[in-house]
Amino acid sequence: MKNFLLLTISLAALTAAAGQAVSSQEPLLYNPYERPKNGPPLTNVFHKVNPAWLLKKLQDPKHHPAARMPNFQFTQEEALDLMAYLKSIAREPGPPIQWPDWATKTFDEMEDDELEAAFDLVDRGRAIWGNARCTICHTVNGPTGGLIGGFVDLRVGGIDLQIAATKLNRDWLYAWLQDPKNYFPDTLMPRYRFSEADVRALVEYILRDDAFLPLDEEEAEDNPELWRELDNPQRAARGKRLIELSRCVLCHDIQGIPEVLSQPERKPPVPAPSFEFLVYDLRCLTCHSIAGRGGTYAPDLTGEGSRIRKPWIANFVQSPDMVRPLSQQMPKFNLTGEEAQIIASYINQWRLDARIPVAIPGGRITPQEIRQGREAFTSRGCFSCHSVGDGPGGIVGPDLTAVGNRLRPGYLWFHLKSPHAVNPYSPEPDYGLSDEDARALAAYLSTRKQ
């Protein structure tokens, strides 16, 4: 009896300990490769695009060269049937957004003061477009786009926005920029924390700038006569059958149409605030990879916690600055301080590389070693790629003025000793430094703080 009691108590204690362990378990990240369907959901597509564009798309999907939808050879009548069904399933639109009076006018129709207000907004939108690094995924007309979009796997993202201005509905674009996952839970678009004023500026920029106009000036015609037919229930019934026959649900979510392939279970969203939520909400793994999962566009974060100091991470994700001037900058998501701390804590706690020491090996650093390091930095010509302070320096490698704030001392030493251990493609040459030299250089660099 006594034994049994003891057993119960120890079991209870064990369970409690296990409970603790669960709460401090490594966060489970979403699977970046799991995307149930290739195409966007069509259930509420009527809120998103204008009917003239949709009619044209259905009849000639390849009109846009980057389009991936095959040509189903729908006649105009069939396309109208399809549209009638899509219209019948669209949910009630939300309350209309209040726009300024000039919102429906073109630049030509505006009064002087309206024109000024519109230009101001478009300019502001262009600046936000740049800061948010939209061109990493999206290609557009004109000088900014077309190049970078090519690096992102087409299956992962990067809708060509060249025709956004003639395609998208103003109210939809406003809601989309505020929270894309509300319309399309599986989208790869991150949720930027834009202010309302930011969103309005972006809407004006996307709907008015030349970069988003179609290359050919031929615009789909608005035809109110045709749109009245879309409310015909017989058309909707025919459209539903045609959608089933054409197996549209292989690629699109459409309400009321039975699935053909079995769908992966959609997990309930992880509650905020947590790293699981943030990594999904910002879609970090589109560009970064963690433990072998994710994109290769941005640095691999698997061992980032052993390399980068926690305060620097928190600061960087809030206001990303260029680390390497010759490569891309991370988008600015307008994260809150709390969100930045969650990200930094996760990396600091879970993304460690066992190979990298925490401190510079070999005991306390002496001031003499720091001096030796400074001399070695000059005598070995490090400044041909790196700059430190106001002195002469190159831009191939990162600016090292405040490298002590960014990199952990142990990693500085490790990287100098084996520059290609973490990133085999790092341009940093392997000088085969002696332990002594590596210690001195790492010591010097770790004191470079601001």
Partner: protein, 465 residues
């Protein structure tokens, strides 16, 4: 008392062990002997031989059975499973067991397979009824368009539809709809009744959903009859192993549909996976299973028209290619892989984009590139490649009337990441020039006959005189 009870238990256990095995247990024994190699110990489709198979063996635990006579998402009936075990699945590595296992043994296997998924305990099956009345192939053809069948299976039924290419190339999802022109690869049989069941109940776990609620019984029956008419390749070709080149007077036509080609008999050449030297292995999963060859010759040249079905054509990731390999010298039949030191071979090769290569080889390490002596024309229409080779008559090899030149064919499909030696290959066939049809033998015979008559008359006259 206590020992008595234990003895009774032992006795009971012995009795149970001595009882005959149930059908399911006997099925398990057969399974472990015959089926395990591909379908795996647990029935998960992961046996030791599964890796080299396309399509992969069925996972009996997931129980997504394709070939059924039941509605969509339902399990197959006992008879469905029995039929597949007996006849196998054409076009896949699954053989028929009719001649190896007794009927009783096959039923025992059915019972074991059903024990691998709990769904068989819970769910009932209601077999579909199949119409028997007349059907209209014409109406079926219209339905094939209206029901958008061509979006996956292609306008001519060769599996080259827009959804197929979009899934394969834009999304990297290799779904291969059935090529309707090759009826012998229909897994569930190519009779209208079989096709009707596939259309009605769909194929579980594939983009081929059911049409039970979308088309009427009659419409599906018409459609099944239309699809059955597309299965022509075997009918229009022969499986002879001599490619006889028909003689024509004028120029050899470049168009694959020119009427001259109808003079040449079409030979269907089966292809299988090629041996790969490095790493030593074999290409188990080629996507091109056969090609059709016709040949023509005139005074100066000999031409071979090679045609094969390829749903992706020039859009494939890598280039497609086809080659002809001839024995270079008379009277030899060299080693099939680039010949051997005594018996050289000549190779003509074409790649997508009409680049050509010609080699002389005396073994796989002894390949010499020479400037091509032949011309090619190629086109890809309706999910089918047509590649025409025209080469000189008097060169190496020398084509002569009455002589048989060994020839073999090989295709690589870029969409299946095939290149180099990773390709589909035929065995040695022969090609020969057809002797011209002329009246001369008849005229000679007639002249001979007349000569004899004249001679006899002359002798008779002489004798009388």
């Amino acid at each position: 008392m206590r020992t008595d009870r234990r003895q009774i238990l032992w006795l009971l256990a012995l009795l149970l062990a001595a009882l005959p095995l149930t059908a399911q247990e006997r099925g398990r024994e057969i399974y472990m002997k015959r089926c395990f190699w591909c379908h795996g110990e647990q029935g998960r489709g992961d046996g030791p031989a599964a890796l080299g198979m396309l399509p992969r063996p069925r996972d009996f635990v997931r129980a997504d059975y394709r070939i059924r006579s039941t509605p969509y998402r339902q399990l197959p009936t006992d008879e469905d499973l029995f039929r597949v075990i007996s006849r196998g699945l054409p076009g896949t590595p699954m053989p028929g067991w009719e001649t190896i296992l007794t009927e009783e043994e096959r039923w025992e296997l059915v019972s074991y397979l059903q024990s691998l998924s709990p769904r068989f305990q819970r769910e009932d099956q209601e077999p579909l009824t199949v119409p028997t009345g007349p059907a209209s192939v014409e109406r079926g053809k219209e339905i094939y368009r209206a029901a958008r069948c061509f979006m996956c299976h292609g306008e001519g039924g060769r599996g080259d539809g827009g959804i197929t290419t979009a899934l394969n190339f834009q999304w990297g999802l290799p779904y291969w709809p059935r090529d309707f022109t090759r009826g012998w690869t229909f897994k569930g049989g190519h009779e209208p009744r079989d096709i009707y069941l596939r259309i009605t109940g769909g194929l579980n776990g594939t983009p081929m959903g059911p049409y039970q609620d979308l088309l009427s019984d009659q419409e599906r029956w018409d459609l099944a009859h239309y699809v059955a008419t597309l299965d022509q390749e075997a009918e229009e070709t022969s499986d002879d192993f001599v490619v006889v080149a028909a003689q024509i007077e004028g120029e050899i036509p470049e168009a694959p549909d020119a009427p001259e080609w109808q003079k040449a008999p079409a030979i269907l050449v089966p292809l299988a996976g090629q041996v790969v030297l490095d790493p030593p292995s074999r290409w188990w999963t080629p996507t091109v299973g056969s090609l059709t060859v016709r040949a023509l010759w005139n005074r100066r040249s000999v031409a071979f028209l090679l045609e094969w079905n390829d749903p992706t054509g020039p859009e494939s990731g890598l280039a497609d290619s086809v080659l002809l390999q001839f024995a270079a010298r008379e009277g030899s039949k060299p080693y099939f892989l680039f010949g051997n030191s005594d018996e050289p071979v000549k190779v003509w090769q074409w790649h997508t984009g009409n680049s050509t290569e010609e080699w002389t080889a005396t073994g796989s390490g002894q390949i010499e590139s020479v400037s091509p002596s032949f011309q090619v024309n190629s086109s890809w229409t309706g999910g089918r490649w047509h590649v025409l080779f025209r080469g000189p008559l008097r060169s190496e090899p020398e084509f002569e009337m009455g002589e048989f030149v060994p020839v073999l064919f090989s295709v690589s499909d870029g969409a299946n990441a095939e290149f180099g030696n990773t390709r589909a290959l035929s065995t040695w066939l022969y090609t020969t020039l057809q002797r011209p049809h002329s009246l001369r033998p008849w005229l000679n015979a007639l002249a001979g006959f007349l000569g004899v008559v004249v001679l006899q008359l002359w002798i008779l006259l002489r004798l009388r005189a």
